[in-house]
């Protein structure tokens, strides 16, 4: 994720606009990143979201880590 999106991600998590993301959970944080990523062009957005998914354990690698 580009560092310039840090303020947007931080705001989306700590000052959520939607009640669904008010709970301080991993899912809310994940959505903060994907909200911030909306400004990125699709060609960089998709790999960035995938990378975030991997870091949040949404991958076979994450499954191995959890077992």
């Amino acid at each position: 994720m580009p560092v310039r999106l840090f303020p947007d991600a931080s705001q989306a998590y700590f000052e959520p606009q939607l009640p669904d993301f008010e709970p301080r959970t991993m899912w809310s944080l994940h959505n903060a990143f994907t909200t911030a990523a909306k400004v990125m062009p699709m060609s960089t957005r998709l790999p960035a979201i995938q990378s975030v998914g991997k870091m949040f354990g949404m991958s076979s690698e994450g499954e191995r880590e959890r077992t």
Binding site: F6, A9, T35, M42, Q50, M55
Partner: protein, 181 residues
Amino acid sequence: MSAVAEAIQSALPKHGVIKDGHPFFNAAVGGDDRGTAGVPFVLRACQITIREERFALRRDGSVLFGVLELAYGESKDGTAALGLRTANDKSMSIQICAGLAVFVCDNLAFRGDLIALRSKHTSGLNIREELATAVLRFQEHFERLVGEIETLKEKQLTDVEAKALMHDVFAGGSHARPPLP
């Protein structure tokens, strides 16, 4: 011409990016002239409808990215999304990944794993067979993704943990480990 093919066609620059006689974007995504190959055909064969589709080309025109929002796996959170990328410069195979289009905010979540077709730019490639296998794997990956999202919802974060994870994401993951128990 299918809607997908039209989207690709409109995204292509006028001079064309299909080189060396490899109409690979169309083969992978839009199907052939009879509409009997490509992701949409295989999805239809699996009784999966495409609700919305978006495509973009990399600036040099060599890589096509797509997101297909599907009428599949719908829940209160969202519906399945298929991420796709493919190149016509022989740099990568067709790759797809499982995702969720989140209803409440129009966000996209994708698994970290790519489903890559075995062959790339092979003259004898049976694209329909390869894609059918890939779509089956996509369905498996999507089921896993749903479970992973439920786990993320249950995992409470302290502010310190959230800030640490933000750091790791923006630092490129060099210090990060999957934080789930």
